[in-house]
């Protein structure tokens, strides 16, 4: 949790920490939120949690980033079928006919 700088901020941080999912649960919820919308109540709690926890916020951003990267690499760029593999394929196709 962030280090509060005054007593009333400390109170808020404590309250939020007590009323939102623990970080361990947050990691599970963050993963699930990538696969479909979560109930509104859960999303509100998660939003509150991010306000006091930079680690979960990073976790969310980094998982999002990984997802974006995965969608961007649908094709293995630059890889080529080796020549001997091509020969093997052609042979297999000839035999089939």
């Amino acid at each position: 949790m962030i280090e509060p700088t005054s007593w009333w901020k400390a109170k808020i941080v404590t309250w939020v920490a007590e009323h939102t999912p623990k970080c361990h649960d947050m990691t599970r919820l963050i993963s699930q939120s990538q696969d479909g919308p979560l109930p509104l109540g859960t999303r509100v709690k998660m939003w509150l949690h991010y306000r006091i926890c930079v680690w979960c916020e990073r976790y969310r951003d980094q998982l999002g980033f990984i997802g974006k990267a995965m969608r961007g690499c649908r094709h293995e760029h630059g890889a080529e079928l080796p020549d001997d593999a091509k020969e093997r394929l052609k042979r297999a196709l000839r035999e089939k006919r």
């Binding site: 949790m1 920490a17 623990k22 970080c23 361990h24 649960d25 990691t27 599970r28 993963s31 699930q32 990538q34 696969d35 479909g36 926890c53 680690w55 979960c56 990073r58 976790y59 980094q62 998982l63 980033f65 990984i66 997802g67 974006k68 990267a69 995965m70 969608r71 961007g72 690499c73 649908r74 094709h75 293995e76 760029h77 890889a79 080529e80 079928l81 593999a85 091509k86 093997r88 394929l89 052609k90 297999a92 196709l93 000839r94 089939k96 006919r97």
Partner: protein, 189 residues
């Protein structure tokens, strides 16, 4: 119209493209090659079925897609020891007794942000090698969801797993991958 005058031509014209498609998903060159072969042989058997509705390449990729799916389906039938090991290795040492992050062990800020990393070959290498470290079945689930955006229900049906199981697998895959990338790319010296 005798379209398949020379299926061998497919190897020269579409071979690399098909291979890349398979390799991005299964990551093992020998498996990717086998899948391309299976797809082309299947295409020969059904080439009357290709009525020129789509381009030849799209048609072949479609067949290959099914072969990749079959491959994942086979993986679904095997529960391996590595899976079990992977699940038991939950990194509980990252959280304190109250399940909050232990600050020094929680996610660190990734220096190289977004677009910049995506431009770098080293990043793609790291991502690829990190996904390869996942147990095969878990990598399959993760790839289907994240790369091809296959609906969760379909992933479950393909691998014969329950919803709950799918959530756990994806959660653990993402956690492990994030950790691996952080160590091997974002905070690597």
């Amino acid at each position: 119209m005798p379209l398949a005058a020379s299926p061998e031509r497919w190897v020269d014209e579409h071979g690399d493209c098909l291979y890349r498609y398979a390799l991005a998903r299964v990551r093992r060159p020998e498996v990717a090659e086998d899948l391309v072969q299976d797809a082309l042989l299947a295409a020969v058997r059904t080439s009357d079925g290709f009525a020129g509705r789509a381009s030849e390449r799209t048609w072949l990729v479609g067949i290959l897609k099914n072969k990749v799916c079959d491959h994942f389906r086979k993986l679904g039938r095997e529960t391996t020891f590595t899976d079990m090991e992977f699940f038991s290795g939950e990194p509980a040492d990252k959280f304190d007794g109250d399940d909050f992050w232990i600050h020094e062990r929680g996610p660190v800020e990734w220096k190289l942000e977004g677009a910049a990393a995506l431009e770098r070959a080293e990043f793609w290498q790291a991502l690829n090698s990190c996904v390869s470290k996942l147990p095969e079945r878990i990598a399959a689930v993760f790839t289907m969801r994240e790369m091809d955006d296959v609906p969760s229900r379909e992933v479950c049906a393909t691998l014969g797993i329950s919803d709950a199981n799918l959530w756990v697998m994806l959660h653990r895959a993402r956690m492990a991958l994030r950790q691996c990338l952080e160590l091997n790319y974002f905070t690597a010296p």
